[in-house]
């Protein structure tokens, strides 16, 4: 079984006492306890301001367990990308920010779209999944 593990440590001093949370999960196929995600895409793209980019070229199979990591490696903190899923804006990743979500590609339009603002954003992404719907050759 392929094994993919995602861990996070979150700390904050915004509360009256310091908060520290650690979590780790092994990324499994949907609804199983014995079989891990076994396919992945890993990429990097420069995106000029105003450009929109469909981040995932092939659509992972709907209702399967996909995990998406995305980081804005821009060093200018005023640069950001808008992250959309199926025309719904999730939020903005400014230079240095990352996100990790269990992306739900529930139909053909449920793509991850990013739009660069402020300058040329440097985006790194990784998608861990359990199968894609392959595009027909042109």
């Amino acid at each position: 079984m392929a094994t993919t593990t995602a861990a996070v440590t979150l700390t904050s001093d915004l509360l009256s006492d310091n908060m520290s949370v650690s979590a780790s999960t092994t990324c499994m196929k949907a609804g199983t306890t014995a079989d891990g995600l076994d396919q992945m895409e890993y990429g990097y793209v420069d995106l000029a301001t105003g450009d929109e980019y469909d981040l995932i070229a092939a659509t992972p199979t709907a209702t399967k367990a996909s995990k998406l990591y995305l980081k804005n490696h821009s060093t200018d903190e005023t640069y950001y990308i808008r992250v959309m899923l199926h025309a719904q804006e999730i939020g903005r990743l400014y230079g240095g920010d990352w996100m990790f979500i269990p992306a739900d590609f529930h139909d053909a339009d449920a793509d991850i779209m990013i739009t660069a603002i402020g300058g040329t954003n440097k985006i790194c992404y990784a998608l861990f999944h359990e199968g894609i719907t392959k595009d027909a050759s042109a």
Binding site: D13, M40, A103
Partner: protein, 140 residues
């Protein structure tokens, strides 16, 4: 100390993949100033299918600023120490399903915090499950 988040991903799916290890300091939009507000760390117990609000933006006592650099961490922690990897809770934004957190899974994602973009949770079954979460945002 500020608010920081560090992610580490390891995988043996692709030969040669060296893993990912990245940190970020949560700052206010377009600046190096630390983010300044939080919901605090909370849990929500769910015992029935059907989407309910985890965060209702318009009800936050400290109003979040719209379309800036907010983030939320959510984790499915199971129930009474039992973490079921086979059953998930769908996380949504403004009724759009973002993805399903199976037992033990977590997410960290940015938010718009506009009033329409409430964060919803929808368990796949009627079995009791608990999610923990904390949102960091800028005060309007």
């Amino acid at each position: 100390m500020a608010t920081t988040a560090t992610i580490s991903i390891s995988s043996d799916i692709a030969p040669g993949f060296g893993g990912i290890s990245e940190s970020m300091t949560l700052t206010q939009a377009g600046t190096l100033t630390d983010i300044d507000s939080t919901t605090g760390f909370q849990i929500r117990k769910l015992s029935a299918t059907g989407a309910v609000d985890l965060v209702t933006m318009a009800n936050e006592l400290v109003e979040p600023k719209d379309s800036v650099a907010a983030k939320i961490f959510i984790r499915n922690i199971g129930y009474k120490g039992v973490i079921d990897k086979s059953v998930g809770v769908t996380i949504g934004v403004n009724a759009e399903p973002i993805g399903k957190l199976y037992g033990g899974d977590w997410l960290m994602m940015p938010l718009t915090c506009i009033d329409a973009d409430d964060i919803t949770v929808n368990p796949a079954t009627d079995d009791t499950v608990v999610v923990e979460y904390v949102m960091f945002y800028e005060e309007a």
